[in-house]
Subunit: 527 residues, 2 copies
């Protein structure tokens, strides 16, 4: 049957019982953890193992069954099918059928029931009453969203000059139907991949070149990370993720791919940089609780901190991953948004070092941040592993619509424009960042030194009533209610230290800064 | 921590051992299946149960451990982490690290390793040597792809007349940057949902109206089906799917969502229509092997058969699902492509019947087929279940790019154009279908009576050397090699009877038909 492309029938499947046990009571997991050590005993050395292996299982297994019987908690998600002994007979009239709720899957229940984030609450307030310098100067300032509005005019100008040559059929001056009318390759066209590879090379300032055949395109960084995770780990496996990390990982990896994320805390005393020693500790702890770690995931430049990983750290991470035989995922979404004086080193560049195992390293990239165009939805998986490329390209459904496709190819291959854009955007980011940091410093608010990204990572712990997560939440609320400032607090990023906030400065103009500082003063000088 | 939108930490997770057992040897599943009946004994009635419960587990469990020890097959996907006793010490030089393959997840391995389909093989041949009436009359005819080229000119004309008013900023006559520059709602804008609801109502010829708030938009029908499945069943659960069914379901549901698809065979003697009796049998068989069935999935109009489900059958299916407390997914992707004389009844219409439980019914829809624009990637989940809407909208990353967004809203709300398009497209489909079926009949090839879709479902069993899957494959190969006809065979659709083929006629023009028949004659009269 596989000749027609259906997956082989021996794909892993769990039984009803496993499904019932695992999400509902956790009993399934416990049972499996019991079986495996026992198996070790049975398979043990000499006759003693055999005796123990026949005795211990009986006692433990029986005790375990009794425990299960007594302590089973009510199921999170009751089984959908009716036990036969209830004697429900199929009725000829549909009105007589019992009314029951059609239940969601356990994995979707978690998603549907999960509380809205404070980000969502802040965003709602912003949408109801959005700040504008002239039209609504008392409105809520949106400083939570990493959207770059500093260089919109550059893109706008390019579009005004070029849309006719790129999107419209020369013959009749209208939009070309050609691309709209056909299915495109699911992982992106070679033409677009080549344009993207060129752009990535330009972003890295020629320090490394990119091979279009190693690119799989997705509809934004979100599916790129989700599909890649799906391919690198199974359900219940884990990734180590230096924290603070972007909460989007929780949505895309934990929710969708069912992979556990183990935060590896970075601290302010280390400028929130990653150490291999803490990766090692987290790995060992996971191993001790029988969780299989399949990879390390990090953002570089870091989101939310904005600092960079140096070459030596990147090599250490690869060494660590090679020793443990796990994967490395480098999220370089903000690589095109460097504004500081340090040089950004891409994982792709480090992989040219002799002796490095490239096949375990995968890079995620996106067009949303480098340009001001999250609306177009282009994400990139870049991998040196042929199997990963094969699997991700089969899973991807890259879906940029045809008119935009043509438009972007033209824009990305306009090398001169791109070079100018990158330079000007970098300069604008630099000026805005410097202005924000110095203004904050005048108020006594310190920021970690950022090199890339659209944000400052601010230490506001001194303004909290109590040094705790609760204190941080109260401060977040005061900023929203009293100062009408919507930003995201460190807890959302799994930051181990309370009192840190990410402030996105790219939605502001320079003229907004004095008012922002006035508002922050209200928070600082509150009773 | 949930205040920031992270999912609760108690999400289902499996241990390393479970992961190692389930995909590799199947031992995990067996162990779980063993535990559960034993538990029944332990929890059994009276003292006998208790005695049995203390004795039987010992014997069976020990026997099972011995069995596992002896019969464990080499793992499909060896564990990624190195056992500690191998004594691998972290080396300071990366060159001395052991070289090992970074492994894929078990679920991705299946995808990466699965053989290319015969469809892919035929498509490759087509792309190398594509037929064209004048430019390449000896080339391969693409009759495997459900792409509608019959009404491209209508869309083209509309675009030529309207693109300026819709996509370009009136002020400067250029593309508007507005939509490109911002993140859009992940499940689609209300404006676009309203336009879609209007279109769906027009497609159903006013027999039912659609509520925009019940729509979740996705990037094509593929993610619509995948996300919906994710929400309705957990890994290892199953859907009943009347066969023949589209192989895309295997990719989107089995591969991505990890849900088993149980084909419920429909036969030529019943005109390949669904019977509740066969659903009942498949359900019982699944139950007997402890597989939890969570839903029924079917396409209406059927892809690949093209027949319709009548109101009474739809109601029977809902009754069946209500009795079993499972979901119903109606894939109505081809609802806008009716060409026969029967009236298409949408599941949405049937749900207006008194006493029907609407909350378990979900409809999938797409713009790719009703218009000739698969390149724009718009899929729709339509559900009456609030929980399903909440979960799917959180999972969706609808990513139509901003310029196309404006364009489509304008097109879909041009009610007069839509009405005219639907009418003309229907007429063109009708003419082409009638021409194909009558031409095939002259060659002695019978087709099932289709009412909707872009295809004929042909019985070519008489042309097979042997009445088997092998005979069908040989015939498929003869058609590709000898007659240069690329179409898809019934096995790809899990058809229980060999010798059926789906021929898509919408990529042809009327002038191509005589040549197609000449080519088929070569197959019929071969030695």
């Amino acid at each position: 049957m596989t000749r027609h492309g259906e997956p082989p029938s021996e794909q892993p499947s769990a039984t009803t019982e496993e499904q019932a046990l695992i999400p509902c009571s956790g009993g399934g997991g416990a049972a499996m953890r019991l079986i495996v050590p026992l198996q070790g005993i049975v398979q043990g050395h000499g006759g003693g193992g055999l005796v123990l292996g026949s005795l211990l299982p009986c006692v433990l297994f029986y005790a375990f069954q009794m425990y299960l019987k007594r302590s089973r908690s009510p199921p999170l998600n009751p089984p959908a099918d009716v036990p036969e002994h209830r004697g429900v007979v199929r009725s000829s009239s549909r009105r007589r059928l019992p009314v029951r709720d059609a239940v969601l899957s356990a994995r979707a229940s978690l998603i549907a029931k999960s509380a809205d984030s404070s980000y969502a609450a802040g965003d709602k307030r912003f949408l109801e009453d959005p700040y504008h310098l002239f039209d609504n100067p008392d409105g809520v300032m949106q400083l939570g969203l990493a959207e770059n509005r500093l260089s919109l005019d550059l893109i706008d100008d390019w579009l005004a000059k070029n849309y006719k040559d790129t999107m419209l059929d020369q013959r009749q001056g209208a939009l070309s139907i050609k691309g709209l009318a056909t299915y495109q390759p699911f992982d992106g066209s070679l033409e677009f991949k080549t344009a993207i590879a060129g752009l990535m090379g330009q972003v890295m300032q020629g320090s490394v070149s990119f091979d279009p055949s190693r690119i799989v395109l997705t509809s934004g960084a979100t599916p790129a990370i989700e599909i890649l995770s799906f391919c690198l780990a199974d359900i219940g496996n884990a990734f180590l993720v230096p924290s603070p990390y972007h909460p989007g990982y929780d949505r895309n990896i934990r929710w969708r791919a069912g992979i556990e994320l183990i935060p590896v805390p970075c601290r302010s005393t280390d400028n929130f940089s990653i150490s291999v020693a803490s990766l090692e500790r987290a790995y060992t702890r996971a191993k001790n609780r029988s969780v299989k770690v399949c990879g390390i995931l990090f953002s570089n430049p870091s989101n939310p901190v904005g600092n960079l990983l140096r070459t030596e750290t990147l090599l250490d991470i690869i060494d660590f991953a090679t020793e443990k035989n796990i994967h490395v995922i480098a999220d370089e979404t903000f690589a095109g948004s460097i504004h500081g004086n340090e040089v950004f080193v891409s994982m792709a560049e480090v992989l040219n070092t002799d002796g490095v195992d490239r096949t375990r390293v995968h890079i995620v990239y996106s067009l949303s941040k480098v340009f001001c165009i999250p609306g177009v939805r282009v994400g990139i998986v870049y991998s040196f592993n042929e199997c990963v490329l094969a699997a991700t390209s089969r899973l991807s459904r890259f879906s940029i619509s045809a008119p935009t496709h043509q438009l972007l190819i033209s824009m990305l291959t306009d090398v001169k424009f791109i070079a100018q854009y990158l330079k000007m955007n970098r300069e604008r980011l630099r000026i805005m960042y410097a202005l924000l940091v110095s203004s904050l410093m005048e108020l006594g608010v310190q920021c970690v030194k950022s090199i890339g990204g659209f944000y400052c990572w601010m230490d506001m712990s001194k303004l909290m009533k109590s040094y705790s997560e609760k204190g941080e939440f109260e401060l977040w609320k005061v900023m929203l209610d009293l100062a009408k400032i919507h930003l995201t607090s460190g807890t959302a990023y799994h930051c181990i230290e309370p009192g840190w906030f990410r402030l996105c400065f790219t939605t502001l103009s320079r003229n907004d800064v004095p008012l922002l500082m006035e508002r922050l003063k209200r928070v600082i000088h509150r009773q």
